[in-house]
């Protein structure tokens, strides 16, 4: 039995880790919510500012998981952590901005264009952490716990020792993010099954 050993939630106004609030959006700040969270995490990774909202969400969630389990990169080899993410919007948030860049502003933006595929967030997480394991981004009609459990179980039985998984719902200001870590060889945590993924996601 594999276990969920850490999880986090992000929405438009707050971020929680293992069920406890980590940060709430400051209404006095002129900075965006994701920038506030990035600075609170104390991460020095300037490439963050070039990412689109979907990539920023995945990046921030993965950094939060690493905060809970700091030894994650030391515990596993670089190809033993799989990335398994999904949403229902694909990269629509950035697709819309890219469309505006050439329809309204008449200058198509290359730096937006590179994010017009949802799986780019996996690349950003992989590059940041030098994780070269399996990775998949699925676009689904709705949050599906059984997708994560079934595919995650396959990954854990075919070489992966851990799966960083999550739902990254990002579209035009709406943020619905649940990211969790599943570890194969953990003896404690939340059993990795449909009921628990659904329960802890809270969607």
């Amino acid at each position: 039995m594999s276990f969920i050993t850490a999880y986090c939630h992000l929405n438009e106004n707050s971020c929680s880790v293992n069920g406890k609030i980590f940060l709430q959006k400051s209404l006095e700040s002129t900075e965006s919510w994701f920038k506030q969270l990035y600075k609170e995490l104390g991460v020095d990774y300037p490439k963050f500012y070039k990412m689109d909202s979907l990539a920023q969400a995945g990046f921030l969630a993965s950094e939060l998981i690493k905060k809970i389990i700091p030894a994650i990169s030391d515990t596993y080899k670089d190809d033993q952590i799989a990335l398994l993410f999904a949403n229902k919007e694909s990269s629509a948030d950035t697709d819309i901005r890219f469309l505006e860049s050439y329809e309204e502003k008449k200058t198509p933006s290359p730096s937006l264009f590179v994010y017009t595929l949802p799986n780019i967030v996996l690349g950003e997480i992989a590059i940041r952490n030098k994780w070269y394991g399996e990775n998949m981004f699925a676009v689904l009609p709705k949050f599906a716990p059984d997708f994560f459990v079934q595919y995650g179980t396959i990954l854990l039985s075919t070489g992966s020792k851990a799966v960083l998984a999550g739902w990254l719902g990002i579209l035009e200001g709406r943020v619905e993010v649940f990211v969790f870590l599943v570890e194969k060889e953990s003896s404690t945590g939340i059993p990795f099954d449909n009921e628990n993924v659904k329960k802890y996601a809270g969607f």
Partner: protein
């Protein structure tokens, strides 16, 4: 500071989302694509081409020409000034 060079730095910071940089952080002769400079990448190079057309009306169609023009702020300013003359 030279207006064109300062303007270029502002455009680069804004268009390339270099939010952790100020105009004063970019030396006129720093190699833009070097880690010792501001570490731009290939996507940033494409954005610079778009920037040239958007703000200065200059189309960079020759890749070899672009490679030389985008070495530094100084080389970009020289490239623009030659085409304005």
């Amino acid at each position: 500071m030279d207006t064109l060079r300062e303007e270029l730095k502002k455009h680069i910071i804004e268009e390339l989302n270099l939010e952790d940089l100020q105009v004063s952080d970019i030396d006129d002769d720093a190699l833009l694509f070097s880690d010792e400079g501001i570490g731009l990448d290939s996507i940033d190079a494409l954005e610079l081409i778009v920037l040239m057309e958007k703000y200065y009306g200059i189309q960079v169609t020759n890749p070899g020409e672009g490679k030389v023009a985008f070495l530094s702020i100084n080389s970009m300013a020289d490239y623009i000034e030659k085409r304005r003359a």
